[in-house]
Amino acid sequence: MRISINWLKEFVDTPGNTQEIADTLTMLGLEAEEGLDTSKLKDIIIGEVKECIKHPNADKLKLCQVYDGNKTLPVVCGAPNVASGQKIAFAPVGSILPGDFKIGKAKIRGEVSQGMICSESEMGISDEHDGIMILDTTAKNGSALVDYLNEHSASIELDITPNRPDCFSHLGVARDLAVKIKSHLKTPEYKKREFITNKAEDFVSVVFENADDCPRYVAGIVKNVKVRPSPEWLKNRLESIGQRPINNIVDISNYVMMEMGHPTHIFDYDKLGSKEILIRRGKKGEKITTLDEVERKLSPNELLITNGESPIAIAGIMGGLESAVTEATENILIESAYFDAPTIRKGAKALGMSTDASKRFERGADPNGAESAFWRVICLVEDVTGGEWVPGIVDPYPKKTVQPSVLLTRAKLDLLSGCEIEDTFIVNTLSDLGFNVNGKSIEWKCTPPSWRPDLEREVDLIEEVIRIFGYDNVPSKYHYSGIMESHEPDPHKGISTIMSILSGLGFTQVFNNSLQSRRKVSILNILPVKVMNPLSDTMSHLRTSLIQGLLSTTDYNFKNGWPELRLVEWGNVFEQKSPGFKGIVEKFQLSGIIHGNITKNSVHSKKSRPASFLALKGMVDALLLRLNIHNFEFKSEADTTLGFTNAFSIKHNGETIGIIGDISSKFGSTMNLDLGSTFGFQFDLNKVMALANEKVTYQSIATYPMVERDLNFVVNEEMLVGEINRTIINNGRSILKKVEAVNVFRHESVGKGKKAVAFNLVFQSSSKTLEDKDVNPVIDEIIRVVSKKYSANLR
């Protein structure tokens, strides 16, 4: 909502300048921004066009003599509306306009031009670029334009929260301001008219289908209006808040809405086609062309104003084109109604419309405001258009809205605010806000004003008191009594540990979008969760895995020239396991991927080592061991639908906690990536965090010497080293502490289709120094078992 400072000052005396008023309103909860940034206009001054003739060498240009308060300068101007005698915004030579546009001395078609006469768009004031900006004739030549603008059209932009429909008006904003700065609130000048016989009833009657949709409908008639452009004062007011003047009738309706907040609608009475107004819901198949010349398909979602037969307006949203006021209009019907807020909102949403009227009605209008706005319009119409009011008013208001009173207690106010606010402040504040306040010190019975539908409960009143008191005046308390809990405060504590381990292993953490295209999420055989109203097709589904995002990020960086990439992400992935909300499963995962090289080229090593499955396996080993997860093993995984090939599931005590392998080429081909080999892992993060939390128990350090032995077996190529390793361990009795393959050797001397695998075995006892007689039988047994199981020969 744009608020004109001059307009605001009609209702409240404030000495403040625009910035101070904006700050005060902001601290009242009406977030304000200065409407116009004048910081770039300080070079521009006010000038007067002393003379204006056609440019001798150009048809569309004019040659002007501009007086800048000091001297007269020649200026070439192309605007159609420039004329002698005008006061204009003048940018002298050397000044800089918004957009860093510097004015220089120029020769245009042979004529010297020293400066520029500016349009509003050139100065960034508005989009108006059809002509130059023409100022008031009282403007002082040579003075700064900024001062003129501040005086004439200073405005602020307010961000009105949904609970404050009353502040969609200058009067409403002025009321808050007046209460805060303890100033008197002035109200618009108009009076309720008296009449003896209600002649309006001869012209119109109003019937409701359902009074809940429209509790109040005020209507009246003005005859013999003259529709023409509005007088200057009215135009200026509307323009100062960015509204385009149309004609005096429409402008009055808009003016009253911006002034008092209540939307009214004015019909051409002679085009209504009946004397009866029937307010009812739309019917399927019904249509209306609205003021904006768009044909709207109606339904029972919308409330309509009809002439008994067909719709003439969509209630509270927009009038119909057919019954609109035109230059030919003579007699008018003024509607000032109070519509039910949810009804209007439903209709506006169904039609995809949001208008100045609908915004006010759907937040809750003022049932009494309907009547005052009506009289305000009548007065203005008579004054401005010369029309004659038909004495009388049609005002069916079957169920009067009664504001229930609310009890405000000292105890609750003190408890919630945490500070003590004086009785007089409370009573004065609420009274000034429009409450009817009765009672004293311990409790007050307060009846809120009809324009504040948001004040229904004691807490609402407490907020009003603290709000005006000033949040900054409530002292902050730095000591509080509270509970002490001894459980681990953060169930995701493990994540920061995991991230620090992985960053030590060279992984960089990323966060990717959870919203992805259907194509991407469908790479895996998982039914994705679909978004009903996506931003675009590329974000229509929720991710089914973190791999797609990691691959996109890898591709992005690879193309930027990063040859070595290790990326990791944690987050939720989603699956639609069965239909409906209950069938949605969120899985908490950790995934990483490596690509390119894993060592950097340097002077020390010209050969960079490429990423590989085993490189990643080593990293995963390191991660798990650092998390104190020990008894895990890699089991070959045959399920290729998981997105990995050459995959191994990572098991802990028989339970799968993750998977590791080559990233399936399906990803690359579907996502059009040309990355070559990538290797990845995926963990169930909840399981990993649970295991990482397990208690570590200290094992006493064995002090007896270790005995190392090497065994070199020749086996057939297809024998798996990991299997042999496991067999050795399983036969190591209690003294074999560690086995590791240290060399794999292939050569003719070993035999065709064979390989020699060297294992290093470490024996140690916790109770004595091992001797050959302890170790040899174990070694012999290992050799026997391995030889037999794998047809191995000792080399």
Binding site: G29, E463, Y471, D472, H492, M532, G549, R709
Partner: protein, 329 residues
């Protein structure tokens, strides 16, 4: 000692055999088997340990191990680089060369900010809890006093899965889950990912992370809320951070406020969080007696705080995964 002599002779033999060091892997392997194989010379020496008297055994063991290490280190040193870039002449070395390169990774700035926020609140006794990203209308809206057909619903552009299921627009849904499951007093923060159906630009993204806070007890006041949030702001942005509380509106709090901090650099107030006293309607929806229990709730955008902290001017950078950005943190 006989063994000692044998050790020395094996050492000399190896030094002769390994200089020059074999050029191909086959001869290297042969050399390895000769000395380090199961029946190699070093293994022989180990097996003759049994003949050494127990007095001399520790010394013999030490010498033997030294030999084994020497041999192993020669094999190791010839694994990769044939010539040493460090050499200058006469055994002098060039220490101005770059060090060996080890990979480094980076923890995402959002993660770091999230950890900062969590630790500040955990310091003053808040616990942390989490909840679902997809939730029903009740937990995301209705129970938080967003009635159907209320304009407050327009404050948050929502992604729907179906008319009754949404991608949560705030982590406040967890407030409701928490109060359904636990009785007050409660003191929690709730970090998590939230979604808004807003066009993507430098200042908004279709999702972001939020930390919601909830503190419910018998005597929690607006003044307590101010104290706790001031503590947070000063810990996060420095004890000289300038801040203000200004009235605002959220359906689930009354009175409601927004907190701004002053940015000297931009010369303006910047909003960093919303807060307020828990609305009695919210307590009602989870069957907590609002005459007995009071509290406050707050919510902040982690991205916004992260961007202020590191002076990042485009939110999209946080989701692009660009290494040129991430390696700076």
């Amino acid at each position: 000692m006989k063994l000692k002599e044998s050790i020395e002779s094996v050492r000399n033999l190896f030094r002769a055999d390994s200089d020059p060091f074999p050029k191909n892997s086959e001869s290297t392997e042969e050399l390895r088997v000769k000395y380090m194989g199961r029946k190699g010379l070093v293994a022989d020496l180990f097996s003759s340990m049994k003949d050494v008297s127990s007095d001399e055994r520790p010394l013999a063991g030490k010498l033997l191990n030294e030999l084994k290490q020497e041999i192993a280190s020669v094999f190791d040193s010839h694994k990769d680089s044939p010539d040493d870039p460090m050499k200058i002449i006469n055994g002098e070395s060039d220490y101005t060369l770059p060090g060996l390169k080890f990979p480094t990774g980076n923890v995402h700035p959002l993660q770091q900010t999230m950890e900062d926020i969590k630790s500040i609140f955990m310091n003053i006794g808040f616990s942390v809890t989490y909840g679902p990203e997809i939730d029903d209308d009740f937990h995301n809206f209705s129970a938080l006093n967003f009635p159907p057909e209320h304009p407050a619903r327009d404050m948050q552009d929502t992604f729907f899965i179906d008319p009754e299921t949404v991608l949560r627009t705030h982590t406040s849904n967890v407030q409701i889950h928490l109060m359904e499951e636990q009785d007050p007093p409660l003191r929690f923060i709730v970090p998590g990912r939230v979604y808004r159906n807003e066009a993507i630009s430098y200042k908004s993204y279709c999702l972001f992370h939020q930390v919601e806070g909830l503190y419910v007890d018998k005597h929690v006041s607006f003044a307590d809320q101010k104290g706790i949030l001031e503590y947070f702001v000063k810990r996060m942005f420095g004890s000289d951070a300038k801040m203000r509380f200004r009235p605002s509106f959220f359906p689930f709090t009354e009175p409601s406020a927004e907190v701004d901090i002053w940015s000297e650099k931009r010369g303006q107030w910047l909003e960093i969080l919303g807060c307020g006293m828990v609305d009695p309607e919210v307590f009602k929806s989870v069957n907590i007696d609002s005459d007995v229990w009071h509290g406050f709730a707050f919510g902040m955008g982690v991205e916004r705080i992260c961007m202020l902290k590191y002076d990042i001017d485009d939110i999209r950078l946080l989701y692009q995964g660009d290494m040129r950005f991430l390696e700076q943190f």
